[in-house]
């Protein structure tokens, strides 16, 4: 490795950024092939119904239409997967999915048929010719109602599809001995990912009979799902990921891949499918809305004694990742605090609402709103500064969490709060109806997948004869600069210029599988894999060079394509590579990084470590609340995150700012509304996300404990950056006008009525 940091912790722009500003990047929908068909999805317009009649003949006979597929045309239309750690008492062990509706529609927007035609116009006209007759059947649209025994069932005999528990100490005794106890119910909204790029892809069958799918996905491993649906070998499906136009978890479950695979297989022609913005609204997963009942106790000197919580998530009509999201919520439900007595019961419940699944924050975000609001209320009851109260209870390195997991990295929460609050500067002054308030909130968020999943990531690194390097890693790039981070790591280890390293990524048959770009795991996992492979290559070089220079290999390092001894003597890298080739020991390596492994969870009581590590941080806001209108203006905002080690400072700041922006949307304005399962906010005119005028200049503050499990001590930043935003804002609103919003988003209406109607 080069002796000094050349690329780690710098602000080097990525090479792809130049292409992005020039408009040269070929995103999924920008790609076309000769003789390509255009596909559309026919979707249900009832949230709960039986299909009595489905007639696609007129559509099939329309000139220009290549095929219309219904459930009968799908080789394996239904699939089931087991939910780890669940018992039969919880109801469904098997999570069911259907590619296309066979008989029963369970949510508005569910896919019923697929059309492929010569032109997009013909495909659209074919949709209009599909005839469907529904028989509406009773649905259930409220998760609490859905938990009742007599509620209409979505699948099987129980709508509760996952249940997790925390059990620690004795909460009855602890509450009885507490000096103060606060009890509240909180609600969080259904949030839409609203990535700017719609889900999209092109598929074709190549001259070897392989289905190639070029799509915008966070998970190229979905080639296995395509193979399962078609009933063909996994080796006959290839997914080549594209640079994504944003995803945030929205391209984590299968999007267009299975539909495209079916259509390309059936027609043997290239097919393109891109969802419309409306389809992204009613046809795609959202963030789970939550109901969180919290009871928290403390002693009069501010020591937390006990926490009890009931957490209910609305899973929508199909399981998807709901059990895992709920597991995240359960583990993170205490917040980054040591609480000796804990009892948590959490439930994920099926309803006829739109499906919910992965979204940046993945269940750890909804609970942050609850646990931080509880801390503020406790502080007030104790007449204690909210920061003082938190300082008395922060987890520390070595502390044990409520799932009996030891914290193994540094916890810079105190420093994060100080920096975030400090960045707000002098407090503005209220005038007239415009009241100023300040608040902050802390968060913890795991990075890396659950350790019982035994996560791995592979990468290949090799040197060319001229000393330049190639990295192959399956990791997709969703816009966060995932490829560029790998490039920086290889360049750092091999002492090369960053432009001398090329990264080939996200192709399921070309690049070693690196796993998903989800769970804040990309840098942690694939960064470590590339580091490992680069170090192996370095060892091959120094071993051969040590023989050539007659010095010990440990004495050697690489810089600017020269191999140096500690004494300053050097030999060109290309000579060493030639010698390596002559010896038959090629300077290349395929390495697999293994995350910490734990045993599978056996019961629904979580009492073992579940995550590799956590990122800790704080966000702080100064707001102006107009008591006459309820409108909140954010005047100042700062987010401080200990990300261990920034690999690229620009991009780490970008994550911190962008995460805060989405978290602000979640806290103040975003809410995907449905009326009895019928979506009301399915475009960007009705579902509002923050614009440049809604956001202040978000100040990003990077702390570097170098204590993480990622490369060079890095922790993850993608998801942790979003978590604490909503509670920080709600706290600031309370400080300004004295009402605590317990049902976010804190819209002007909610604030106004809280101020003007003491009953709400």
């Amino acid at each position: 490795m080069a002796k000094e940091m050349t690329y780690i912790g710098k602000r080097t722009p990525g090479l792809d950024e130049r292409d992005k500003v020039l408009g040269n990047v070929i995103y999924a929908d920008d790609f076309t092939l000769p003789d390509m068909l255009y596909a559309r999805v026919f979707r249900a317009t009832k949230p709960s119904a039986l299909i009595k009649k489905l007639n696609v003949e007129k559509a099939r006979n329309l000139p220009g239409v290549a095929c219309v597929l219904t459930a009968d045309d799908v080789p394996n239309n239904e699939s089931i997967s087991n939910v780890v750690g669940q018992t039969t008492e919880v109801g469904l062990l098997e999570a069911k999915h259907q590619v296309l509706v066979k008989n029963r529609v369970r949510y508005y927007g569910e896919a019923v048929a697929l059309v492929a035609a010569d032109t997009i116009d013909a495909a659209n006209r074919a949709l209009e010719l599909i005839e469907v007759e529904y028989e509406e059947i009773p649905g259930v649209f409220d998760p609490i109602a859905a938990m009742k025994p007599d509620a209409p069932k979505l699948h099987g005999n129980n709508n509760i599809i996952a249940q997790w528990k925390l059990r620690k100490g004795n909460i009855e005794k602890a509450f009885a001995e507490s000096d103060v106890v606060v009890e509240n119910t909180y609600r969080t909204p259904r949030q839409e990912h609203a990535h700017l790029e719609p889900e999209s892809g092109v598929a074709w069958v190549d001259d070897m009979g392989v289905i190639n799918i070029r799509s915008a996905t966070q998970v190229i491993e979905h080639y296995r799902d395509v193979a399962a649906v078609l009933g063909i070998p996994q080796s006959m499906v290839r997914i080549e990921g594209t640079i994504m136009g944003g995803a945030f978890g929205g391209k984590e479950d299968v999007t267009v891949e299975v539909f495209l695979g079916l259509l390309a297989w059936k027609t043997r022609k290239p097919v393109k499918l891109t969802f419309s913005r409306e389809e992204m609204g009613f046809g795609r997963q959202k963030r789970h809305p939550y109901i969180l009942k919290y009871k928290t106790g403390a002693t009069k000197d501010g020591k937390l004694t006990a926490m009890e919580a009931e957490i209910i998530s609305d899973a929508g009509a199909y399981v998807y990742l709901s059990p895992w999201v709920l597991l995240y919520s359960t583990v993170h439900s205490t917040g980054p605090y040591f609480i000796p007595n804990v009892k948590v019961d959490s439930f994920s419940v099926l309803t006829n609402n739109i499906m919910t699944s992965a979204f940046r924050g993945f269940g750890a975000m909804q609970v942050a709103f609850a646990y931080e609001s509880q801390m503020d209320e406790l502080a007030e009851k104790l007449n204690m500064d909210p920061f003082e109260l938190r300082k008395k209870n922060f987890l520390k390195k070595g502390s044990e969490t409520a799932n009996y997991q030891k914290i193994t990295s540094d916890v810079l929460l105190k420093e994060s709060v100080e920096k975030a609050l400090g960045a707000l500067g002098e407090k503005s002054t209220s005038s007239g109806s415009k009241k100023i308030g300040r608040g902050f909130a802390c968060s913890w968020q795991s990075y890396g997948r659950m350790t019982y999943l035994h996560d791995t990531s592979s990468a290949w690194v090799g040197l060319e004869l001229d000393g330049s390097a190639v990295v192959r890693s399956g990791i997709p790039d969703l816009g966060g600069g995932q490829r560029e981070s790998l490039r920086a790591i290889a360049a750092q280890i091999l002492g090369l210029k960053i432009e001398e390293v090329h990264v080939i990524s996200t192709d399921s048959q070309v690049t070693p599988l690196a796993g998903t770009v989800t769970a804040t795991r990309a840098l942690f996992m694939s960064g470590n894999a590339v580091k490992l492979a680069s170090e192996n290559v370095l060892n091959i070089i120094t071993r051969t060079a040590s023989k050539m220079l007659k010095v010990s290999a440990e004495d050697l390092y690489l810089r600017d394509k020269l191999v140096y001894t500690s004494g300053g003597e050097s030999i060109p890298l290309v000579k060493v590579i030639k010698e390596c080739a002559a010896e038959g020991s090629m300077p290349q390596s395929l390495a697999t990084y293994k995350a910490p492994f734990t045993d599978p969870i056996k019961t629904d009581v979580i009492k073992d470590p579940v995550f590799a590590d956590f990122t800790f941080g704080a966000q702080a806001a100064e707001v102006e609340v107009d008591t006459e209108t309820g409108i909140v203006t954010i005047l100042k905002y700062a987010s401080a995150q200990d990300i261990g080690q920034a690999i690229n400072v620009n991009r780490a700041e970008g994550q911190i700012e962008g995460g805060a922006a989405q978290g602000i949307g979640f806290g103040l304005m975003e809410d995907y509304l449905e009326e009895k399962g019928v979506p009301l906010t399915w475009n960007l005119a009705t579902y509002l996300i923050p614009t440049s005028k809604d956001l202040p200049d978000i100040q990003s503050i990077i702390l570097e404990s170098k204590s993480g499990k990622g490369p060079f001590g890095a922790k993850g930043v993608g998801e942790p950056s979003i978590t604490a935003a909503a509670p920080a804002l709600v706290s600031a609103i309370y400080d300004a006008v004295g009402v605590r919003i317990k049902h976010i988003p804190a819209t002007p209406e909610r604030i106004y009525w809280s101020l003007h109607n003491s009953d709400t």
Binding site: R11, P13, D16, E17, R18, D19, K20, V21, L22, G23, N24, V25, I26, Y27, D29, D30, D121, A122, R125, H193, A194, H195, L196, E197, P198, I243, M244, G245, G246, F248, T274, S276, R277, L478, G479, G480, G481, N650, R651, E653, G654, E657, G658, A660, A661, Q662, N683, L684, A685, I689, P690, T691, S692, K693, L695, D697, I698
Partner: protein
């Protein structure tokens, strides 16, 4: 065919004459993309996101709400009219330098809006910049670095 009437049109795109045959409802966005101007992005097709922003006679306009026929004979500028690989436009340079992008999908529209703003008002305040780009949604960045980049160009700091 499909019973629709088609009209022959001629536009000037990035200084080049582009001809085509379009239906009355064909948007300028779909027309441009069909002619491989893929730098013009389709984010919502309803005028809500700004990703398809182009300049029409110098004015920033969402091409999804403009019919191709309306653009007949007018001067259209897409992102490709700014800089080239060898010589980026100062705005493009600043977007890279300030990391004013992540996924890059809103970038083409954002840059065209910024270009129109600076052409009209070379020295905008930060609030002017925020106002100008408020119709261009970005879901990745939080906008700060975008405003930083545009401001830097307006101050000649690039």
């Amino acid at each position: 065919m499909d019973g629709k009437e088609y009209y022959n049109i001629k536009l000037i795109v990035n200084g080049k004459e582009v001809k085509g045959s379009v239906a009355a409802e064909t948007s300028l966005l779909d027309f441009l993309r069909s002619k491989n101007y893929i730098e013009v992005k389709k984010g919502c097709d309803k005028g809500d996101c700004g990703a398809c922003t182009v300049l029409i006679d110098g004015k920033a306009t969402v091409s999804c709400l403009t019919s191709a026929i309306q653009a007949q004979g007018r001067k259209i500028q897409t992102l490709k009219s700014l800089g080239s690989w060898d010589k980026l436009d100062p705005l493009q340079e600043a977007f890279v330098k300030h990391e004013a992008l992540q996924c890059g999908f809103c970038t083409p529209g954002m840059l065209m809006t910024a270009k129109a703003l600076l052409d009209e008002n070379p020295h905008p305040t930060r609030d002017d910049i925020k106002e100008a780009i408020s119709g261009n949604l970005c879901r990745c960045t939080g906008y700060k670095k975008i405003v930083d980049a545009i401001e830097a160009v307006s101050k000649g700091e690039n």
